[in-house]
Symmetry: C2
Subunit: 263 residues, 2 copies
Amino acid sequence: MEERAKIRLFVEHPLAPGAAVGLSAEQAHYLRSVMRLGPGVPLLLFNGRDGEWRARLDGLGKGWASCSVEAATRPQVREPDIWLVFAPLKRARIDFVAQKATELGVSALWPIFTRHTSVGRVNDERLRANAIEAAEQCERLTVPDIFEPASLEEALASWPKGRRIFLCDERGGGAPIAEALGTAGQSPGSLAEPAAAMIGPEGGFSSEELDRLRNNPIVTPIGLGPRVLRADTAALAVLACWQALVGDWRSVRAETPARRFQP
Amino acid sequence: MEERAKIRLFVEHPLAPGAAVGLSAEQAHYLRSVMRLGPGVPLLLFNGRDGEWRARLDGLGKGWASCSVEAATRPQVREPDIWLVFAPLKRARIDFVAQKATELGVSALWPIFTRHTSVGRVNDERLRANAIEAAEQCERLTVPDIFEPASLEEALASWPKGRRIFLCDERGGGAPIAEALGTAGQSPGSLAEPAAAMIGPEGGFSSEELDRLRNNPIVTPIGLGPRVLRADTAALAVLACWQALVGDWRSVRAETPARRFQP
C-alpha cells in the first residue's frame, strides 16, 4: 500500500509532475524542528489552483526545505463561493473566526469597519496565517482570500453585482435563516450563487447603517433565533447553515475508512 | 422610561414578586469588585423555571449580596430539546464548546468516553460554570443540564426512547445534514422532537463503535460536507443547523431596537 502522507502544506508554486518546490522558512522549521522529519518523507501539497499532489521531501536545513512533486492525489474542483464580511474582533476571537470559517469553507474573509467597531486595526498577515493553517488541516484545496480591510461604505460602494448579502440582523425582524436560504432555491449538485454573510461588531450596527443595509436590494436580513449570540458564534452559524442548505454539504461524501476528525 | 437592567444572573431560588434572593459568593464578588455596583442597582434574574424577573440589589458585602424580586419581565417558555453528546476535549476547547453550545440553545451537555478519547477526566463544575455564564449573557431562560460523564456503552444502554441521535459520521457516507433534518418534517411553530447531536473524539470513533451506532435504529448518521472539521466545529455546526431547520430559529423574532450582539 502507498505510504500515506500525513503532512499537508499550502504552497504558491505551480504543481505538476516532477516539479521541484521550495518550501518557506516557516514550513522548513515545522518539518525539521517541530515534526523532526528528514528527506524521503511524503507530503501533500496544494496551491489553490492545481489540485492536491503527493510530493517527497528531498532535503532540508535551517530555514529551507525542498521537495519534488510526484503524482496528483485530487483534482481541483470548484468550491462554493461565500464570503464572510465581518467587523474585526479582538485577537483570540478573530483567530478563531479565521480558523473556523476556513474549515466551514468560506471563500474570502473581509474585515470591515463600522461605526461601533472597537478594534482599530487588523493584522492581515495573522489572519492569513490562521486561514492557511486551517486550510492545510481541513483538507481544503484552496485558502480563503483575505481582503484589505475597508469601511462599510467602501465595501458597499465596490460591492460586486449579484452577490447576495445575508445580513445577521441582531435587532430581530429578519427572516428565519432556513427560510431566507431556502428561497435561494438551489437544485442539488448545482453550485450556489455567490453570497456573503455579514456580521456587525459586538456593539451592533448603528441605526443608520442598519437602515441603509436593509434598504439595499442586495441585502437579505436574517434572524438566528431568540438568543443573543456573540458575533463569532453568529458568523459560524450562518456559514454552517449556508453550506448545509445551499453549499457543498448537500452532497453525500464517499466513505473513507481512514478519515478522522482533525487531530 | 424604566431603567434597563444590564446584569442578568442565574439563581436557584424560586422567583416571585417580593421574594428576597441571596446571591452566591461569586456573584457578590462580581457585582461588588468587578462591576463596582452598590445597593439599588436593577438586575435581571432567572432560575430555569419561573421566567425572568427584574430585581433590585438591596445590599452587598464581602462574599454576600441580596436582592428583592420586583416584577416578571419574561414568562418561562418551552425550549427546543437538543442534547450535545460529545467526547471530551482539552480544556480551552471544552470551555468553548460549553459556551457556544449554550448560546446555540443546547438543552444538555453529556461528555462521553469512547475508545479513542484521549482526555481522561472532565471538570463538570467548570463545564457548568461556562454554561451558566453563557446562559446569563445570551438571554436564555434556562441553563443546560450537565450530565455525569459516562462511557458510550453506558450512554446507549440508558438512552431515552424516542430521542433521535444525529451522529456526526466523520468517515463519510452519512446523509447530508439538511436532508437528514428535513425528514424530521416539523411544522412551523411546533416544537421539534427531542434529539441529540453526537460527536466523537478527535481520534474518531473506532470501527466497532461506528458499526454499533450505525446499526442502532435511533441513530441517523449525518455528513457535514467534504472538509475535515475539528470536533468542536462539527458540534457547533450541527447545533446551528438543527436550530435553523427544526428548532427555534424557525420563527421571526420581533424587532427590539436596543438589541446588540453580546459585549
